[in-house]
């Protein structure tokens, strides 16, 4: 080895040995104090409130307590939680929706909420949100953020077509979409009247299908008579009508196409006049496309007013050694001050209903469509099963080729076949996991 290489090797070795020692030493100095709350969540954008404000306030209130807020990229957060919680190397408090908590409950890794938390949930949330923390007649965790699905419509494009409000039902939606679609010389769609979710991977496609399915009167996994047992809820008029809607929008009314951009990106680039999503798009538009004139509206009603409604909750780990303290911090985070900070700084909406949010509506009226639950609204939670991801993913795998199948146009038998086969697979998945029930 020549002199240069030798020196390099020694330098690398020294660097490699010194750094971890220094770092480790630094870690040691912090030490293990009594009452260190470890809070894990999968939304780094929340740290600006939870870590920088709430945790600091809590530590100021209780000087002998330390709060460590750790955020992780969401796509892998559940993986980390699933490995850490059973191994005992997990957090005291974590942020997760009830449907995903079920398997932890069944594995005995989470305890029922204490009395103080139970009464808080009963007092401060309407029943629709209470349900989202209730399982097997017990309360597990505090609903924190959740909102309705809503629609976004481009005001300038609508005005251009002589329209001044969002569609209220499917017939209007189709009509408005036809009026706001733009084509190029060869007849291809260059600006969609409505933006559908047609391709990609994972459960997103099924979830967007579900968003249209709900107002049509159906759902993907319908609750059976027994708790925790479900069956396919779309092998019916509603399911067929929804698939028919997609096919018609693509091939009969030609208001969307697989060849242009979709979803929030399309809306920001003004390549679509209308699409359905959650409230985070408001913050997204402010950042990336501040000059686009748009407004929000409730989802169009077809057979009923309805949509998915889910909350992400604060939960305490069953293996935590400081459960009472962790719950206290969870209640602390649920205070009005922090909920409002989150709306302003992060753009996610709170579930808590005994708070007056009118000052928020004054600042950003477009949030209203996502926060006001109309009378008779059917808000459906995600099912309490372990197989939901599999069901949605496999359904998505069937929907993608179906959307590209032109032969389904004006072909009720073809549509019925696709739906029936997909529903059978859904039921098979449920049966295999022992989660099937009429």
């Amino acid at each position: 080895m020549n002199a240069y290489a030798k020196k390099l090797v020694i330098a690398l070795l020294l660097l490699a040995l010194i750094l971890p020692t220094v770092a480790f030493a630094g870690g040691q100095a912090e030490g293990k104090k009594e009452g260190t709350i470890k809070y894990w969540h999968g939304y780094p954008e929340y740290d600006v409130v939870w870590k920088d404000i709430a945790a600091k306030d809590f530590m100021a209130k209780y000087p002998t307590v330390k709060v460590e807020v750790s955020s992780f990229p969401l796509r892998d957060f559940e993986k980390k939680l699933a490995l850490a919680l059973p191994a005992g190397s997990g957090p005291d408090l974590f942020f997760l929706s009830l449907p995903y908590l079920i398997k932890y409950i069944d594995a005995g890794l989470v305890d029922k909420s204490p009395a103080a938390v139970m009464s808080f949930v009963k007092k401060s949330f309407v029943p629709l949100w209470q349900v989202r923390a209730t399982y097997k007649d017990a309360v597990w965790g505090i609903p924190y953020n959740g909102e309705l699905k809503g629609a976004y419509w481009n005001v300038s494009m609508y005005q251009e077509a002589g329209l001044n409000r969002a569609p209220k039902n499917w017939a209007e939606m189709i009509d408005f979409a036809k009026k706001t679609t733009k084509y190029d010389a060869s007849g291809n769609v260059v600006r969609s009247g409505v933006s559908l979710r047609l391709s990609g991977s994972g459960s997103g496609i099924a979830e967007k299908f579900w968003m249209w399915l709900m107002p049509a009167g159906g759902t993907i996994a319908e609750a059976g008579k027994q708790l925790g047992k479900y069956h396919a809820g779309y092998d019916n008029e509603a399911g067929r009508a929804t698939l028919k809607l997609y096919i018609d929008l693509l091939y009969k009314h030609k208001v969307d196409s697989a060849n242009i951009k979709h979803d929030s990106e399309a809306f920001a680039l003004e390549q679509t006049a209308y699409f359905q999503r959650e409230a985070w798009v408001i913050g997204y538009m402010k950042e990336h496309a501040p000059n686009v004139k748009y407004d929000t509206a409730p989802l169009p009603v077809e057979k009923r007013a309805g949509g998915m409604l889910e909350s992400t909750n604060l939960n305490v780990s069953g293996k935590s050694t400081i459960k009472a303290l962790a719950w206290e911090f969870a209640l602390f985070l649920s205070e009005e001050k922090y909920l409002k900070e989150i709306i302003e700084k992060v753009g996610w909406l709170p579930c808590r209903t005994d708070v007056d949010y009118s000052d928020i509506y004054k600042k950003e009226p477009r949030f209203k469509s996502f926060m006001t639950i109309p009378e008779g609204y059917v808000g459906e939670p995600y099912p309490y099963i372990t197989t939901s991801d599999e069901i949605y993913t496999k359904l998505a795998d069937r929907l993608v080729p179906a959307y590209q199948d032109k032969s389904l146009l004006d072909n009720p038998a073809g549509i019925a076949k696709v739906i029936a086969e997909a529903a059978k697979q859904t039921n098979d998945i449920l049966k295999e996991a022992g989660e099937y029930g009429e």
Partner: protein, 283 residues
């Protein structure tokens, strides 16, 4: 006997070189496009990140993304963590691979082929699969959220042992045997004959080992919980939200992250190309 190699540059040769350059240059554009997009986007303000059709250059250059990246997370710390992990890993892999490669190519013992294949076979199982049992066993040993816990899986590399074995095999056996007959110790043979002749291979392996550790994501992610222990790739993933990616921040972070790898490459590239060859060594 010295004979200078005359490279006649007739018109045919020049033409061939010109064609070669043309092809290589066209390739250059394709090779650099994502890299160029990454750098230019890191200087764009958020309103410009989404544009259609995409514009390469920013209209308004800004450092806001870089400032943001270092302010929101302890990015400098992530950088140091990655540096430490990669340096230690590279050193360990170079050591184990060159010694292992030497053993497998210039020694005989029973079961050598089988053992080699076993080591190689470990590459055939995707890491994400066996990391679950590994995590559980490390958790039992209390190594979760510790620096040794992060670095341990990166101390060895079957690819490295295989690579060095193939390269050391190219060294003529006569040279090794001569050394042995002369009474040279194995370690002496290793440092005086094998290592100098393997400079190219070691440099290349150094680049690959460094890169592999630098790019590590899933293991550091699941083994660490305190933000201060994150490595660069984990830090960068924090800008990928549930429904969209913060392209400004991600590209700024990625640009910073790519610099050491390019430096390592440039440093070792010369050693690869200008490594010592057989004829330069006294027999």
């Amino acid at each position: 006997m010295e004979r200078k190699l005359k490279y006649t540059k007739g018109p045919w040769e020049t033409f061939k070189t010109a064609i070669l350059h043309l092809i290589l240059l066209m390739g250059t554009a394709v090779m650099l496009l994502p890299f160029a997009w990454m750098i230019f986007t890191s200087f764009k303000p958020s309103e410009e990140v989404l544009s259609w059709p995409p514009k390469l250059l920013p209209i308004r250059w800004t450092f806001v993304n870089y400032i943001g990246v270092f302010q929101r997370w302890p990015f400098a710390r992530f950088f140091l963590n990655s540096l430490g992990l990669s340096a230690l890993s590279t050193f360990s892999i170079l050591l184990t691979s060159s010694l292992g490669g030497y053993v497998f190519s210039k020694h005989r013992f029973r079961g050598k082929e089988l053992l080699f294949f076993l080591l190689l076979a470990t590459v055939m199982v995707p890491f994400e699969v066996f990391m679950v049992p590994l995590y559980l066993s490390m958790s039992q040993l209390g190594m979760v959220d510790t620096y040794p816990g992060i670095v341990l899986p990166w101390l060895i590399m079957s690819f490295g042992i295989f690579f060095m074995r193939q390269n050391i095999a190219a060294i003529p056996d006569d040279l090794i045997d001569a050394g042995r007959i002369d009474g040279c110790s194995e370690l002496g043979l290793f440092s005086n004959v094998v290592l100098p002749l393997s400079q190219s291979a070691i440099s290349a392996l150094g680049i690959f080992a460094f890169m592999d550790a630098w790019d590590a994501f899933i293991w550091p992610f699941i083994i660490t919980s305190t933000t201060e222990k994150f490595v660069l790739e984990v830090g960068l993933a924090m800008f990928q939200h549930r429904f969209f990616v913060e392209y400004g921040s991600t590209t700024a972070g990625s640009t910073v992250a790519v610099l050491p790898m390019i430096i390592v490459f440039l440093l070792f590239r010369r050693n690869i190309i200008e490594g010592v060859t057989l004829t330069g060594l006294k027999a």
